[in-house]
Symmetry: D2
Subunit: 333 residues, 4 copies
């Protein structure tokens, strides 16, 4: 049974159906009727005017956002364990033309104004040091922790004071919102976020993420960068179709809630084995190698994270009944 990544989850039937329906459209790139709905639909969702671009991967969304917020000679403050630092093969450096990631510490891969200040206040303000130009946080984080609107707003306030851009990597934004129960607006632009990578692929989509600009004028140059990076798919209508299908009836929230619920079941079973509070759809466990092996022997597939640690990720398609055997196996360790 698959618990190693929500990237491995299937595509939701509604998304597949929407792509089939899109097969009757005949306009290229993003000139089609579906792509043209994105700004409006996401503006409705976020209760403000946004620009929304489809992109085929989360890495692309993140790095186009960073390129919009940070010049080649600037720095992006992020957590030491951030996806942009560890899991994108230097894509931020590629897209920004060589900006530097400035690494913060912090529990659960979360930044705070204090940890950010520790990093940026140590940087002399001269031409010898790369200067910080932007902050990037991940919500939910790489450890499945969720920033509250207040926590985001505190960082947003610091960003405003220091004239730093503010990006949110929301590969699991849906899981964060599902956990918080707040509006998408509250935890983004109302808290100072300027650009959001809004993930759909892990949450029922196939190959479309949304890059949302709350400062609409950031989008124009990004349209050029998207094309220039080979990301403007000629049949973009199938990507737009995926996003719209996920927005319809708040499907994105429904699927995220399902994934979160699965993780909650595991968390309850795990008790004090938990390395981090479980707030989204990731569960980090303290397990011995023998325990990990015994779980695998029962058919559960997951990642070793570090010595004595395992990561389990639940997905939108895993119902309680599907989760139960793993929960039981964990409880029985």
């Amino acid at each position: 049974m698959r618990f190693f990544s929500d990237n491995a989850a299937p595509v939701h039937a509604a998304v597949m159906a929407a792509m089939t329906t899109a097969n009757t459209l005949d306009t290229a790139y993003d000139g089609d009727a579906l792509s043209k709905q994105l700004d409006g639909r996401f503006s409705d969702l976020f209760e403000t005017d946004v620009r929304a671009l489809w992109v085929p991967s989360g890495t692309a969304a993140n790095c186009l956002a960073l390129a919009a917020l940070c010049p080649p000679y600037g720095g992006v403050v992020c957590h030491r364990d951030a996806h942009i630092q560890n899991d994108e093969c230097g894509a931020p450096e590629f897209y920004t033309h060589g900006a530097k990631l400035m690494l913060c510490d912090g529990d659960g891969a979360k930044l705070t104004p204090a940890t950010i200040r520790t990093v940026i206040d140590a940087i002399a303000n001269d031409v010898h040091r790369v200067q910080p130009h932007s902050i990037s946080i991940t919500n939910a984080t790489e450890y499945g922790r969720v920033y509250t609107p207040g926590e985001v707003a505190a960082i947003g306030e610091l960003a405003r004071e220091r004239k730093l851009g503010f990006h949110m990597d929301g590969a699991r934004f849906a899981n964060a919102v599902a956990h918080l129960g707040c509006s998408p607006a509250e935890v983004t632009w109302k808290a100072g976020v300027e650009a959001l990578s809004f993930g759909f692929v892990k949450n029922g989509g196939m190959s479309a993420e949304a890059l949302i600009f709350f400062k609409p004028d950031l989008a124009d140059a990004t349209l050029m960068r998207r094309k220039r990076a080979g990301l403007l798919l000629s049949k973009g209508r199938y990507l737009a179709a995926q996003l719209l299908a996920m927005l319809d009836g708040d499907l994105w929230l429904e699927t995220a809630r399902a994934a979160n619920a699965g993780a909650s079941l595991l968390a309850n079973a795990a008790g004090n084995r938990l390395l981090h509070p479980v707030e989204a759809n990731e569960v980090f466990l303290r397990v011995t190698a023998a325990e990990a092996a015994s779980l695998r022997a029962k058919g559960f597939d997951f990642y070793d994270w570090a010595d004595g640690e395992a990561r389990l990720v639940t997905s939108w398609d895993q119902q309680a009944a599907a989760i139960a055997p793993l929960a039981e196996a964990i409880a029985a360790l």
Copy 2:
């Protein structure tokens, strides 16, 4: 009726079906069983050991290939009307980190050893001038012309002599092979081509092109560059599925033949209005503005190419019966 671009054609039913079937797989990135078949399946097709990578766009395929064949301080010789020069928003410069395109003239957007020599022999061999490192040709060309194996081999021989890399942009490679009736091998590696962007999206696919390396050792760095560019989709299995479906039973050749056949019908109707011989699925016509307007008034949609010129592109899904009205309208002009 759509004749403005084969990018606007629908996705073939077999491709849609394959994606649905892939929905039962559960491995991320390119670790899945379908992605792992690509090297073998394309090696069979090309009758030699190749490395085959899926990528989500033709621009991405082209520019990853160029980055593999040309350093940042080098130049890529291509036609003045090449897609990489005019239609990719500087993607070659982005992916190669600033290599320079060196523009050749030539009928029908075709290069010859002579036109290439004219450009590169004028470049003093010193550090002040960007030095040529690679050649890129498009087959079928941007004007729907097809290089024969002999023509490609002549360029390949020059590339070998001058130690230049050799890339083929095959966004419409299928149409070229369908026209030539040769094996894919004859017009590529047997003629000196080192990397091929093998297009499927215009020819029945949705979002997957194949980047083929005939020099397998070029692929390793490209795997890093693909990830770094945000092109390694987390659910890559759906891209592999598309390619495999197009290879099954030589569907790619069947669809290309259909598109070419449509163009032939138009060519026959066009007579001496033709600006270029019609060899693939593009037809360039000499038309007055009034004639173009009259065609549009009848519901035919196409691009104005230049003053007094129109481009019409036929697609894999357009049967003879669907083409006939336009052929008649052209003949009646």
Copy 3:
């Protein structure tokens, strides 16, 4: 005798002396008393507030300017024979992170609003094409032609209309001003120029050019880029000393006049062999291979430019008496 390049001329004694004097200063980078005078001294010269940065080469000056005026996804309109296109090994692409040079035709390597419009009006305004962001002209040009203030202003007006940046490569700016007899202001910012590479090395300096920003806010990011490119020499005071020595008593104008005078003598001797009007310190001659060989046999060193063409460059240190033998030899051909 040296006529192949003013790069080979010696350093003026006043410049050498100033460097020796600077040897008593002891501050690093550009924090020294001499470097701090540059903004003021060049503001005086240009009769407006400018920011003036020393850089160690003309290529560096040009490309820092272009990076300030054009984003990575943009284009710079320049002449087909521009130094930035042909003689900098792709430095514009390196510094701008991949911007594209957009090549214009024109006699004497001069651009006009008409030739610029021909190029930029052919570019469809969409994301598939690199869009023009800046214009760069060379004054005096690569063929020793000089733009008048009126000619520059006409281009400046076009730049303003189309919201394009405007850079002047002034590797031989001094020669141009010496020819025009106008103020430096008239042919630069009063005519719309935003950034000027003001050359001193060919004109008596050793290793310092001035990069002048007439839009002062362009300088801040450039300070970062200068450091980032390894161009912020730790002992910058010796570069500032060179520039200040050249400004003192308008030495730069005196040396340029001397070089121009030498070229005039050659031009008079050359008669209808001249390929271009001689306005600065370069002379392009129509000569047969035998004639060129005969001149070389007499000890005159110069470049072959193209078949049947020779380039001769006079330098600031060559007095009339030194020029006379070559003038006579040319007249005697």
Copy 4:
């Protein structure tokens, strides 16, 4: 009195004289007789065939070397306090087109095989993580510590095993060699170093550093990159002259010994205030703010390094008599 940086030291009289002598040469770029001597002269010094390029700054030397040793998608292992990480405004990222610096801990800014392994062994060997391609150490280090030949060789052995490039930032290489008393060969290529930034500017030069390739084939592409970066000064003969003057009679070693001797005097005076053993020409002291102020009140100029820490740098021109007052003042604190 200047103790804040050896960058602020004057230029040695022999160097000034050599530049004056070079004023009679008349060839451009690096085609002159002096530049052509560099390969031979440095090969003699290093007792092996090397390629030696002048460059105008240490940052340029470092980053050209890194670009030769690490692809854009790779990583360079260096110390957390390395100059390339903290003091070059992202120049490594600019020159390498976005490679990532991989930061090691270690006393005195020194790396060891163990600290390097800690960093690189933690990097999963897949396309999601930037992979290490090179190691860069600084000798003498940013804290004035010196790697012995044995220490360098241990790192060189690791580099060889892991197929990593190996660069030495030798901004103060002369001070290191002066301290070690070994041959330049022993602590470089005999210990596995492939490229060396050999600093002269801090040690009596004006604007010329030497970039030494012990793997000569690395130099060819670097010649292109040097030009492309605007670093190929048109009057390069004045840079070559500086280097040759410093090599003559081992002047570089004499000046470095003088600077080191000054630091020794300070070290003796400092006793247990020393934060690091003094091996080159830098002295790091534990001082209170009041103590630092008292030293400054006496006219001694230096940098605060961190809270309660001061950095004092001695220079080649400071004789024992000039150092004595500071030594006394420190002893008297």
